[in-house]
């Protein structure tokens, strides 16, 4: 390789890194989220406009405190993610974080994360915890900072722009040898929450661990999610958003769209590759292509949501 080409490839690598750690943009269309590259949406205003106004951006698995080879600078990639979101021509109304805010549930990690989130131009942030955020038995650190919306229960709901949002927690009542668990109290609360709501209300459900079984041997699923699906089935448009597995996996089943988001910190192997779901080390120039956000927009005619995933490259 000539010096020029080497320089060029370095430039490209740096350019890639400039978008590092981006999230996914969702627009809800006909109940089905369609992935859209955020970088494309930012660069091409016409296609961004076709997506409608971004309703929210999903950021996941920021793992503040992680410092291993797979990404020694998770603060840097989260900064790039935040810059990317802040640079969107139309700001999303909400930001949703689907958990593993921190790596080890340490107070200092939560403090850094909160400081970084405060740079987001969109100030309405909704969170659910991941299992990395709840390793202290009492979940004190997470709830002290993010527990208000749920009265320290971890699950809550809210409405925005005619869409009903449901935040669920599936990382607390773990069963040895098993998957994530919602538990009877939370499921009973949800039944009451959904009761009387029109089936035409678009519903967005988010939790950290996948709410559908992606790969049981690695615990990528929620043991009692069938009971959740029974409650959601009557709705005409249901979008289920998760994190946890640090890669995009999607499924459409009837009126339900399931989507897992990329991490902003480090990728994980695909299901069953290697001994377990640990940090995946990839060449530095590949890393930004494996980190990202998800963005969701509402299309009004016909009323629907559209999903889009954006990497940092």
């Amino acid at each position: 390789m000539s010096d020029d080409r080497l320089l060029q490839s370095r430039r490209n690598a740096l350019k890639c890194m400039a978008y590092g750690g981006a999230g996914t943009l969702f627009a809800l269309a006909g109940g089905v989220f369609t992935p859209i590259e955020l970088a494309v949406a930012a660069a091409d205003k016409q296609s961004a406009a076709r997506l409608g106004k971004p309703l929210f951006v999903q950021i996941s698995d920021t793992h503040i405190g992680f410092n291993k080879d797979a990404n020694p600078d998770v603060n840097g990639t989260l900064t790039q993610t935040i810059d990317l979101v802040n640079g969107m021509s139309e700001q999303p109304a909400l930001i949703i974080h689907t958990g593993d805010i921190t790596h080890l549930s340490k107070p200092a990690e939560f403090d850094v994360a909160q400081q970084m989130f405060s740079r987001l131009r969109t100030t309405e942030l909704h969170t659910v915890p991941g299992e990395h955020d709840t390793t202290d038995a009492t979940v004190t650190e997470y709830f002290n900072r993010f527990g208000k919306a749920s009265d320290n229960k971890g699950y809550y709901s809210f409405d925005h722009a005619g869409v009903h949002f449901v935040a669920l927690i599936n990382v607390l009542q773990f069963k040895p040898g098993g998957l994530g668990t919602l538990g009877t109290d939370q499921l009973a609360w949800l039944a009451a929450d959904l009761k009387g709501r029109s089936a035409s209300t678009p519903v967005v459900v988010f939790a950290h661990m996948p709410l559908w079984t992606i790969y049981e041997p690695w615990g990528w699923g929620t043991g009692d999610s069938d009971q959740l699906m029974n409650q959601l089935r009557r709705f005409g448009s249901v979008t289920v958003l998760n994190g946890h597995i640090h890669q995009i996996v999607q499924k459409v089943e009837g009126n339900m769209t399931f989507h897992t988001a990329r991490s902003t910190a480090y990728p994980q192997p695909t299901a069953g590759t290697g001994p377990g779901p640990g940090p995946l080390k990839v060449p530095a120039e590949q890393l930004p292509k494996m980190l990202g956000i998800t963005s969701v927009s509402v299309v009004q005619h016909p009323r629907s949501l559209v999903l889009s995933d954006t990497t940092i490259t």
Partner: protein, 114 residues
């Protein structure tokens, strides 16, 4: 006094022999550090460990991913152990103790205290 000294010597020999028997028992088990559980590749190794009452068991995480150990009965619970961090717990009473990594609940193990 001579007899007393002889007795102490006998006791010392007996203790040494007991130690040797115990130590050889350990070596036949193939693990030189029998109260240590290594956490590697999302597994506890050994997955089941038998110790005497009063033993302190140490879990050491060798993965790039954090793990913890949580007793099924709530008897003990570690924080998240990052790479090369460890956690120890002293088992005073005989019994069978099951534990799980709450971060990866597929990871389970057992301590048998005799």
């Amino acid at each position: 006094m001579i007899l007393g000294r002889y007795r102490s010597l006998l006791t010392a020999v007996a203790v040494a022999m007991l130690w040797w028997i115990a130590a050889s028992g350990v070596s036949t088990a193939g693990t030189p550090d029998a109260t240590r559980i290594t956490v590697k590749d999302f597994m506890f190794e050994p997955v089941s460990l038998t110790v005497k009452a009063g033993s302190t068991v140490t879990w050491a995480n060798m993965d790039d991913e954090p793990h913890n150990v949580v007793s099924d009965t709530g008897l003990f619970r570690s924080g998240a152990m990052d790479t090369n961090e460890s956690f120890s717990f002293k088992f005073d009473k005989p019994g069978t103790y099951h534990f799980t990594c709450s971060i990866h609940p597929r990871m389970v193990g057992t301590i048998v205290v005799q």
